[in-house]
């Protein structure tokens, strides 16, 4: 998927969060976006995922405006936001099985991804009983279970231990090497050296 962002702007009331973001991303590339809290990184990820509409500017995915037919483009993305988008009262396995059903992928993928994110032995635990780091691993598995072309990860290393960080870096590397693309926001951009092709700072609502 080729992603092209031009002059993206977004405000909440009087607060201007994004003032003109430009970004180009090709297949097989990943970019990292850093910036202080409140810089607008999460807003940018939500807009790229089409969950939030920008006030101005243009997004093109493979030359098309994803907001004109968001359902088609959303299926091609895997998204991790601050909220893990998991049901706390369901087990880890039940959550992934549910995701398989709504994405229309083989239910066996749930087992495969529990193993890939290192949660096989916690498969029958309710999500509300998992640690924050485990929830984050599960959220990343949830986002990647349908083999998305574009991965949008908002602070994927949050709450992860060293092994978890290593696992996520491995998954992003794999995503890029199989021809996918990724946009990652993180305070820990150093961890992504060698994985991402560029690192941007989100400053005053622009990528520099």
């Amino acid at each position: 998927m080729k992603l092209s962002v031009r002059d993206l702007g977004k405000s909440f009331g009087r607060k201007v969060v994004l003032r003109g973001v430009d970004l180009e991303l090709e297949k097989g590339q990943a970019v990292c976006i850093t910036g202080p809290n409140g810089a607008g990184k999460s807003t940018l990820i939500k807009i790229l995922s089409t969950l939030l509409r920008p006030d101005r500017g243009e997004i093109r995915m493979d030359g098309e405006n994803p907001f004109e037919n968001p359902r088609i483009f959303r299926r091609r993305m895997g998204v991790v936001l601050h909220e893990p988008m998991l049901y706390p009262q369901l087990t880890a396995r039940e959550n992934l099985e549910y995701v398989c059903r709504i994405y229309g992928v083989d239910g066996k993928k749930a087992e495969e991804w529990l193993e890939r994110v290192g949660l096989s032995e916690f498969a029958e635990e309710r999500v509300e009983h998992l640690s924050e780091g485990m929830k984050q691993r599960l959220a990343i598995g949830r986002a990647m279970i349908h083999s998305p072309e574009l991965l949008l990860l908002d602070e994927p290393f949050a709450s992860l231990d060293a092994r978890g960080v290593e696992m996520v870096i491995g998954l992003i590397t794999e995503q890029v090497s199989r021809g996918g693309a990724a946009v990652i926001t993180s305070h820990m951009s150093g961890l992504l050296e060698g994985v991402v092709s560029r690192t941007f700072q989100l400053q005053d609502g622009r990528l520099v």
Binding site: S49, L51, P70, R71, I72, R74, R75, M77, V79, L81, E83, P84, M85, L86, Y87, P88, Q89, L90, E94, Y98, V99, R101, I102, Y103, G104, R126, R142
Partner: protein, 220 residues
């Protein structure tokens, strides 16, 4: 389209009936309404139509509590965003939530109906009981058809749960009154009233069409 809908239904019913306080809460509300009326006076002095009204107050409150809980869970877990990100159509999400709301509400209404029947001393033969079940199912469906749309709207707003009751209750009057009237006539031994049955069906059909047309605007 069917697999995602079934996925939503299975997940939602599991959460509503077995994994949350939702069922206990809706049962408590519903049974409490019936209990208050039953203990406030002598139930034997209440007419069959009044008893039907009491039962339908219980059904309506219980169903609203069930639907509120269902959308609160979606809001708290980001479930609606997840369904949107999976590329599900608004219609699929609405139908999934409607069916799951109907199943969960019917389960609690079954218990409330049975408890109300005992407490209020309702009498019906097998045929009457089947007709009561038909009316209960249609009425509950009508409440769920409207309730699913309004609960989706209110769950996105600040103070939404209070707003849900304020918005929903006036909209539910036609179906609740039609159902209570039908119930009363069956209990009086007058059989199924086609007039009130028609109102229930027309209400459900009309709000189903409106909801399917509006749901995309609501969730997007």
């Amino acid at each position: 389209m069917m697999r995602p809908i079934w996925g939503i239904v299975a997940r939602d019913v599991r959460l509503s009936l077995f994994r949350s306080e939702s069922l206990a809460l809706s049962l408590t509300f519903g049974v409490l309404v019936v209990l208050v009326f039953a203990l406030a006076g002598d139930p034997t002095k209440l007419g069959e139509e009044a008893k039907s009204g009491v039962i339908w107050c219980g059904f309506a409150f219980s169903t609203v509590v069930t639907l509120t809980g269902s959308f609160r869970r979606e809001r708290e877990s980001g479930g609606m965003e997840l369904m949107r990100l999976a590329g599900l159509s608004a219609e699929a999400i609405y139908i999934g939530k409607l069916i799951s709301g109907f199943i969960s509400s019917s389960a609690s209404n079954l218990v409330i109906g049975a408890a109300g029947g005992v407490m209020l001393g309702l009498k019906a033969d097998l045929g009457g009981l089947l007709r009561l079940c038909l009316i209960a199912a249609l009425g509950t469906l009508g409440i769920c058809v409207t309730g699913t749309l309004v609960a989706a709207i209110s769950s996105e707003l600040r103070g939404g749960e209070g707003l849900l009751v304020a918005l929903l209750m006036p909209l539910l009057f036609p179906v609740v009154i039609a159902s209570a009237k039908s119930f009363g006539l069956i209990l009086l031994g007058e059989g199924l009233s086609l007039k009130w049955l028609g109102v229930e069906i027309a209400y459900a059909a009309m709000f189903l069409i409106i909801s399917l047309l509006l749901f995309e605007e609501v969730i997007e």
